[in-house]
Amino acid sequence: MQKSKSNGRYILLFVILISALLALMLWSISTGSVSIPFREAWNILFHRSGQTGETYYTVIHEIRIPRVIAASLLGGALSVSGFLLQTFFGNPIAGPYILGISSGARLVVALTMVFLLSRGIMTTPAVMILAAFIGSMLAMGFVLAVSFRIKNMSLLVVCGIMIGYICTAVTDLVVTFADDSNIVNLHNWSLGSFSGISWSNVRLMVVLTGIVLVFTFLLSKPIGACQMGESYARNMGVNVKRLRIILILLSSFLSAIVTAFAGPISFVGVAVPHLMKMLMKTARPLVLIPGCFLGGAIITLFCDDMSRLLFAPTELAVSSVTAILLAPVVIIMMVRRKGGRDD
């Protein structure tokens, strides 16, 4: 009885989240520095009216749709990545940005770009993703090495933040001293932005994140067991060692994809899983993985909209918006957790 009631609740929440995401996507497509009347946007989207050459058509098809899809997809991927990291470390304040994984990815991508550009080679998205993945894994390796020595969760986060700082500093150096006109591009990217994403990029990220997310979703059951702690998970028949390696790879890969295309985006990974837990009143991965994806998509898309609308035509870095919106969530959550627990 109890179960069917909460199942109904989940279904209702999913319907609401999906509708909200779709509505926000439509709104995002029609607004911007070039404001397009909603009816016009609707026609262009669904009735294929308009020509390739028309301004509205071009703006919508070549700029806004890819950007909106990228922001939602990557935001979703980021918060799933955060959820996996939180499960892995059993640490509520873990996230790809906080643990320095995004910054590690960014550093290696920046180095790769500068290296290739200096030789006159254009980077392809595949190379970027690979570089980002290597960077993620390197930073992750550091965090893991620390986590073996330090069992204290807060110290682990502090270490992650330090790793993040080091990577950011080195990246800034590289970006500052690389003198190439293309570096302007790199500078934008290194702040975190969804602008300038092409359709071919979108296709690649849909395929990659799609595969990783489906795979992650299919692991809901063992991930749920992991939330009960290692020994219970093991007693339930989970190969904990293997699962942990898979979790590391999946979360690093997800944040690598995000960083490769959009640069480091702060706080989505750490805050969204908590917001979704609070909203859905569950931590079950089966519900929360899709929930985090939808929540991350909505919040990131909204933040991206704010970044381009607030001071249009000047664009803010997405991270500025996500930080203002989501960092307080993390603080509130930490305070509440401290107060609510007796040991």
């Binding site: 109890q2 179960k3 299919l218 009960m228 093991r234 007693n235 339930m236 028949g237 931590a283």
Partner: protein
């Protein structure tokens, strides 16, 4: 008897050696566990009870020796296969987020659910039945982190039961629980073992309870299984006191009663008592560190059982025999040496003349402190 049912052994450890990274904690332990039987590990703190249990559930590495589960070496079994045969409740605390007690218990169905871990109607039926059996159904829909330790332990046992194991491993299932939960949980375990033919291996700190609930007791000391047997065998003589390294007088192995060591020195107070009336006075004197003597007590008197561990001297007489004259004389001498005398008896029956005489003697010598009515 053991030989007869040897082939039905469900869990068997042979020369088990285990511990942490570079430290052997459990050394050469062997035991057998049969369906429907409770085997309890007792022994001092740090003896290796938890380590032994953790190595059996494969949380810690086994250095050498073998554990057989249903005749198969556990080292060669897959985790998922073990999960259907063995479940556990350890001392480590859980902090699941947004999970009701029912959800926590339901995680025990893990090995039996499909790819996505969705429970069927039947699974939920099993969960609710387990919760009921452990009397945890009243908290089923409450947040697991917000219920009391006792309720939590009931839920964890229900969870273990949901896994439908043949063997249940419990590490100190009654620690931190109040009397009611201790009794409730142990009788629950007893019931599970009997009704479901479950083999239970657990560690307990309460030796008196271990005696009441176990079929076999395994004594662990310094990582070795120093003795095993039925509770009757283990509790014979003063073995328990030796095992825990306490003074012989501090534990009454017949009653399972623990007492603080008696104060040394000449008795300052003599207590005339009997039939359980003196126990309160004994402890009151002991609390104030006043050495005392008690008498005259028959050896089958409940006061005698307590006095013999907390009183400096006890004047006693063999049960069902007349009290010999020298007993009275010995008691009188003790009263002479004491500063005062207390009498907890309110009346003297025809077979308790000796204590009536003793009280008269105390009154005459002016040592008797009259009890306030």
């Amino acid at each position: 008897m053991t030989e007869k049912k040897a082939d039905s052994r469900i869990l068997r450890a042979e020369h088990l050696k285990a511990g942490y990274a570079h430290r052997v904690i459990v050394d050469d332990v062997s035991f057998d566990l049969y369906p429907g039987e409770i085997v309890t590990l007792i022994g001092p703190n740090g003896a290796g009870k938890s380590t032994l249990l953790k190595s059996i559930i494969r949380q810690l590495p086994v250095f050498s020796g073998t554990v057989y589960l249903e005749g198969e070496s556990m080292a060669r079994m897959k985790d998922s296969c073990i999960a259907e045969k063995m479940s556990m409740v350890m001392t480590q605390r859980l902090h699941p987020e947004y999970m009701t007690c029912r959800d926590v218990a339901a995680t025990g169905r893990y090995p039996y659910t499909g790819r996505l871990g969705i429970l069927s109607e039947e699974d939920w039926g099993i969960v609710d039945e387990a919760l009921q059996m452990m009397h945890a159904d009243i908290v089923a829909n409450q947040d697991f982190t917000k219920v009391s330790d006792g309720q939590r332990q009931r839920v964890m046992l229900a969870r273990a039961l949901c896994q439908q194991p043949a063997v249940l491993i419990l590490d100190e299932p009654t620690s931190f629980l109040d009397m009611r939960f201790k009794l409730d949980i142990l009788s629950g375990i007893r019931k599970m073992a009997r009704e479901r033919k479950l083999a239970v291996l657990m560690s307990l700190h309460e030796v008196d309870l271990a005696r009441k609930v176990s079929d076999q007791i395994l004594c662990i000391q310094n990582g070795k299984a120093v003795r095993s047997g039925t509770p009757e065998e283990i509790f014979a003589g003063n073995y328990i006191q030796k095992l825990y390294g306490v003074e012989e007088k501090c534990f009454d192995s017949r009653l399972g009663m623990m007492n603080l060591p008696a104060d040394a020195g000449d008795p300052a107070v003599f207590v005339i008592c009997g039939g359980g009336t003196g126990i309160g006075t004994f402890y009151a004197l002991q609390r104030k560190n006043i050495p005392f003597a008690a008498g005259v007590l028959y050896e089958n008197d409940i006061d005698y059982a307590v006095a013999s561990s907390v009183a400096g001297t006890v004047v006693s007489a063999r049960a069902f025999y007349p009290v010999p004259e020298d007993c009275l004389e010995a008691a009188k001498k003790l009263i002479d040496k004491s500063e005062k005398c207390l009498c907890t008896l309110t009346g003297f029956g025809p077979y308790n003349e000796v204590n009536r005489i003793l009280k008269e003697y105390a009154r005459k010598t002016g040592k008797l402190q009259e009890q306030k009515e």
